[in-house]
Chain length 134, copies 4
DNA sequence: TTTT
DNA sequence: TTTT
């Protein structure tokens, strides 16, 4: 009965960092600068949220291959709040987005999801006629 | 550079209809009644959008097994505008949502995505310590 | 208990059309071409949804002033399914998005919502100190 | 060219806290427990994100009047990452959602936005006929 | 610590 | 009828 969805558009503050988990899964992370619209409805750069994005597996490969500092992208994913205890015994809380989709917004033609793409169109090759769909 | 996302919460007007494509893919469809909030910000049932939802494969199985008339659900997917020609030669346009996620909102505990779930938590079993995540 | 949200990124197929309702409200409409990602996860132009967008009042003014054919924008709004009876007595159904936010994706610096922007930052000018926010 | 949108469904961990800013704006805050779906696609309560929600003005009044511990709600808003310096000189980062819409998911009929509701339907009273909308 |  |  719960749901968690985030959609962000912003720019990478740096090139992504790539590492691997113990079991070999590729993990690519980066920070997205998402500026807030100001009073006039137009954006300023005075107020910006810097949001950590985490990607895995195929999507991490895509990130590693195509994303670089300064690129404008759309990220879709889930907000996760990590809670951990510092050396001083205090609990801290750090947010990150576990992305499941990345779309370029600034150059040509690319979007990738963290899933196998289903070939929907192929399913219906036989229905190219004049019948209403329902 | 394009993106298409829809999130709806509403009730099934009937039990889903299930069929199969020529190549054997399961397809389950149903109509979601999504009422519009009225002037006071509270909902009436006088104004309602009836939106056709289409699901495939595993998600269609889930829909077939669990969804029934009247249930309250959240649907996430893509808006598709089908365009087809009627017997009178006129073009018509019918909208539908190709769902990739369904979440129950009215009973206990269920959500299903049209993808294999990645075992994110398992990836990090080794990192349960006091280090900050970044 | 219902909810209806759409987020689209695509290009205007033409310049917006502007008109007024009987009571003087400005209405600007246009069609957004939203192409579907193809099998490789990269976009093609073979498959595109053409989606009618409707804006009112201030947002319509913004659309009239800034949007032109070919521009890449993000639109947020609600999906509405209009149902009407044709001359032949048949019922038809046409979808449209009633937008409440438009963001440029292709040039510099603009986003507008169909509401007065609240000056959140001003509310907290007094809290610029070292205290945690909660 | 930036965008920031979050949609969450979860339960209040406590009754909201209400306060006022120096200039008199009402602020209501609460924590939303959003559980993550587990491997089978069904939810467990072992893994939950606890997400701080902030509301202002009219929406804060609504929250104060209607929301109580345990209620299931949908929240729409923006993700903000606050950065502040602790007594130890260390920088911390705390996430919160600045909500602009709240919808009940567990009882009857309510949704409120942080804006004046526009009377769209009234605008078109004169168009209740058999004409296609475009 | 940050992007345009 | 359609955008890049």
């Amino acid at each position: 009965m719960n749901y968690n969805k985030v959609v962000l558009v912003g720019r990478l503050t740096r090139d992504p960092e790539v590492r691997q988990t113990l079991n070999g899964t590729l993990v690519a992370t980066f920070t997205l600068a998402v500026s807030r619209p100001n009073r006039s409805g137009f954006e300023g750069n005075d107020n910006t949220d810097f949001i950590r994005i985490v990607t895995f597996s195929k999507l991490a490969e895509f990130v590693q291959s195509y994303l670089t500092k300064g690129r404008l992208i759309l990220v879709e994913g889930k907000l996760r709040i990590n809670r951990w205890q510092g050396n001083d015994g205090q609990y801290r809380t750090t947010p990150e987005i576990w992305a499941d989709q990345v779309v370029f917004m600034d150059k040509k033609n690319a979007a990738v999801e963290d899933t196998e793409m289903v070939e929907y169109d192929e399913l219906f090759e036989d229905t190219e006629n004049d019948e209403p769909p329902f």
